[in-house]
Each structure stands twice: as structure tokens, then as C-alpha cells.
């Protein structure tokens, strides 16, 4: 049971943190919880679909369909996160200033909320399909002992939800004035890490074959697959054996977000607020 709990928890760490950040980032935008919940539900349904078609996905593209699928959905998430930060750069100040016109903010926010719901959905989908397959495997092979394993799995899910809550509660302790700056920064790093991860999948699929050398190996120091490693992997894109291309992508994503949020922030005194990434 403990093993099942650990396996499932390991898989939900990333989704848990992403959901927490998204909820905090959109805290004062009306309806954000509903959107996040919709994202989770869509992610779970998507996970089941991906699990059902796991064989077909894997054998697509000459056996590298899984990598290309992962790279694609990560790319979508990165674009959505960048879009959110641009939106924040334009409207974050109004939201932070205690929302002069809440109705207006909701209307304007819906596009950004959709983007973040997509991000939540993708975060859930990525690891969710593995959990579904794991539980399915238990169900069809282990029979009697399956029940305790499934209990363990549910325990893992609850822990993951707890991690969401912890992330969220930690973030909303940040004063409202700074909250958007903090969440925008976190989202920038989240996006950069996901972009680097997408590149790794493309490298593994053999689509990209440049700058593939490993730059450092810190796996002995902090393994990427440990819980702490996974948390850092999600938060800042930590990798214990990054390739040169991953590092370049990481830096390029941060640079693009910085430039775009600067270019898109409202002119004048908002400049300072936009320089947060």
C-alpha cells in the first residue's frame, strides 16, 4: 500500500504544485476556482483517454509517439503560461489595486483563465495517464491485494491535493501588492522548465540532435526523481543531467517572457510592475 501511495504521490507532485500556483495567480479574478476545477476534470478525463490509447500513441511516429505527444502538450502549456504572464503584465496592477471594477476584470480575465485551465488540465493529464495505467494494472493483475493498493493510490492523490493546498496557502500569505509579481515570476520559471522538458522529449524522440551533450550531472547530489527533486523540477525546471540545448531553451524562454511582458505592459508607471520577470 505504501509503495502505491509513493508511486501515485510522485506522479501528482507536479500537477499539485501547478494547480496551487494557478489558483494563487488568479485568486482575485472571479470564477478562477471553477476554471481550475474544470481544468482538473478535463485533465482526469484526458488521462483516461490517453491511458486507453497508450499503445496507439506509443507506436505512432515510428515508436516515438509518446515523446512527441508529451513535447506537444508541454509546448501548449508553455504558450498558455506566457500568454497569462502577458495578460498579468497588462492588467495585474488593476487587479492588485483591489479591483476598481470587478465585473470588468472578470470579463477581461476569462481568456487568461481559459489559458490557465488548459495549463492545469495538461499538468494533470501528463502524469494522470500513468496513474490510471498503474491502477488499471493493479486491478487486472493483483486481484485481492488490489484493494489495499488502490487505497494507497487514493492516499497518494490526497497527498497531492494537500500539496496544492500548501502551495496555494503559502502563496496567498504574500501581500496582495506583491502576489502578482511573485506568481508571474513563478509562472515564468514554470514555463521555462516545461520548455526545457519539451526539448528533452524531442531529443529522446530523435527529432532534435544538436547540443545534446550533458552539461552537468548532479544526480548524486539531488536526484531529479526524488520528491524534493521533483518539486524543484516543477518549480524551476531542475534537471540533474540537463543537455546544453535544454539550458539554452530554458534561458531563451525566460528571455522571451521578460521581453514580451515588458513590451506588453501598459506604458508609463506600470513599467516597474512589468519588470517582474
Amino acid at each position: 500500500m505504501l509503495a502505491a501511495l509513493i508511486i501515485v504521490f510522485r506522479e501528482v507532485v507536479e500537477a499539485g504544485i501547478v494547480v496551487g500556483i494557478v489558483l494563487a495567480a488568479t485568486r482575485s479574478v472571479g470564477g478562477s476556482r471553477l476554471w481550475a476545477a474544470a481544468g482538473v476534470v478535463a485533465g482526469v478525463l484526458g488521462s483516461c483517454l490517453v491511458a486507453i490509447f497508450a499503445g496507439a500513441i506509443a507506436s505512432a511516429f515510428e515508436g516515438f509517439g509518446q515523446e512527441l505527444f508529451n513535447a506537444s502538450i508541454l509546448a501548449v502549456a508553455v504558450v498558455m503560461l506566457i500568454g497569462h504572464n502577458i495578460w498579468m503584465a497588462r492588467h495585474g496592477r488593476e487587479l492588485a489595486e483591489d479591483i476598481r471594477a470587478t465585473g470588468e476584470a472578470i470579463a477581461r480575465g476569462s481568456k487568461s483563465l481559459l489559458a490557465l485551465a488548459v495549463v492545469v488540465g495538461i499538468a494533470v493529464l501528463r502524469e494522470g495517464s500513468e496513474i490510471v495505467l498503474f491502477l488499471y494494472g493493479i486491478a487486472i493483475t493483483d486481484g485481492g491485494s488490489g484493494a489495499s493498493l488502490i487505497l494507497g493510490g487514493i492516499g497518494g492523490l490526497i497527498l497531492g491535493a494537500g500539496l496544492s493546498a500548501l502551495t496555494y496557502l503559502g502563496l496567498i500569505k504574500v501581500p496582495a501588492r506583491h502576489l502578482f509579481r511573485v506568481t508571474s515570476l513563478m509562472i515564468a520559471f514554470l514555463a521555462a522548465g516545461m520548455a526545457a522538458q519539451a526539448v528533452l522529449f524531442l531529443e529522446q524522440a530523435g527529432v532534435i540532435d544538436v547540443l545534446g551533450g550533458t552539461v552537468w550531472d548532479s544526480s548524486a547530489l539531488l536526484s531529479e526523481t526524488s520528491i524534493v527533486g521533483r518539486v524543484l523540477h516543477t518549480l524551476i525546471g531542475y534537471s540533474d543531467q540537463p543537455t546544453a540545448l535544454q539550458l539554452v531553451t530554458y534561458a531563451a524562454t525566460l528571455a522571451v517572457i521578460y521581453l514580451l511582458t515588458r513590451a506588453c505592459s501598459s506604458p508609463g508607471k506600470n513599467r516597474a510592475a512589468s519588470a517582474n520577470t
Partner: protein
């Protein structure tokens, strides 16, 4: 994005254009196909459980899962993690390894279903 004007927009177009070119170029110059090694997972055991490969050369593992249950073929040492549905097979690319032993396993049965790649 609606708000893009002037320089940033051009920069973005340049960057994305450059990246796509890079992707294309790398497709074109993709190295010769690496060696493929076949492996099967049946019950909780991999066959062969010990795979010998030459050091310094990238290779591909073709894993066939003969069980009804899905597995997750994973290796921390070799950096791969792939789901293998029941009765299906997948390919995993492994980078050139230095000499040594590298473990792999089915993450869903990490304690029992294990094997080693020996690179020499």
C-alpha cells in the same frame, strides 16, 4: 498576441523562425540509425535482464510487454521513462553511455522487475 508591436514582435518571429529552422536542420542531419536491442517483459522479469552494449555509442531498446498489465519502463541512470501498454512494444533512445552498469526497471513494480545495461 494582440499586444505585440514592432521590435518584440520581430524578435519573436525571428526566434521562433530560428527554432523551426534548427529543428529542420537537425532532422536533416540526423545521424545514422543507432543499434536496436530487443527486450521483453514477462511477469516480473526482463529478458535479457542484463544487456551488454558498447560504451560511447547511442542505442535503442525495443521493449515488448507481454503482460496484460501496462508497465512503465524507467531508468534514472539512463534517463528514460516510458509507458508500455499491455501486449505492445515501445522504443527508447539511450544516449551514449560511459563504461559501467546502468539499472532499469518497471516503475510499477520497482522492487521485482529490474535489469541492467552493461556498457563496456
Amino acid at each position: 498576441m494582440l499586444c505585440l508591436h514592432g521590435a518584440p514582435k520581430r524578435a519573436l518571429i525571428l526566434v521562433s523562425g530560428g527554432l523551426s529552422l534548427l529543428a529542420f536542420a537537425s532532422l536533416a542531419v540526423e545521424a545514422k540509425d543507432p543499434m536496436t536491442y530487443e527486450m521483453t517483459l514477462k511477469g516480473q522479469s526482463f529478458t535479457p535482464a542484463e544487456l551488454k552494449v558498447p560504451a560511447g555509442e547511442p542505442f535503442i531498446i525495443k521493449l515488448k510487454n507481454e503482460n496484460d498489465a501496462p508497465a512503465e519502463f524507467e531508468s534514472k541512470d539512463m534517463k528514460f521513462e516510458k509507458v508500455v501498454a499491455g501486449h505492445s512494444e515501445i522504443l527508447t533512445r539511450v544516449k551514449a553511455l560511459p563504461g559501467g552498469e546502468f539499472e532499469f526497471y518497471d516503475e510499477y513494480h520497482e522492487d521485482e522487475a529490474r535489469g541492467t545495461v552493461v556498457s563496456e
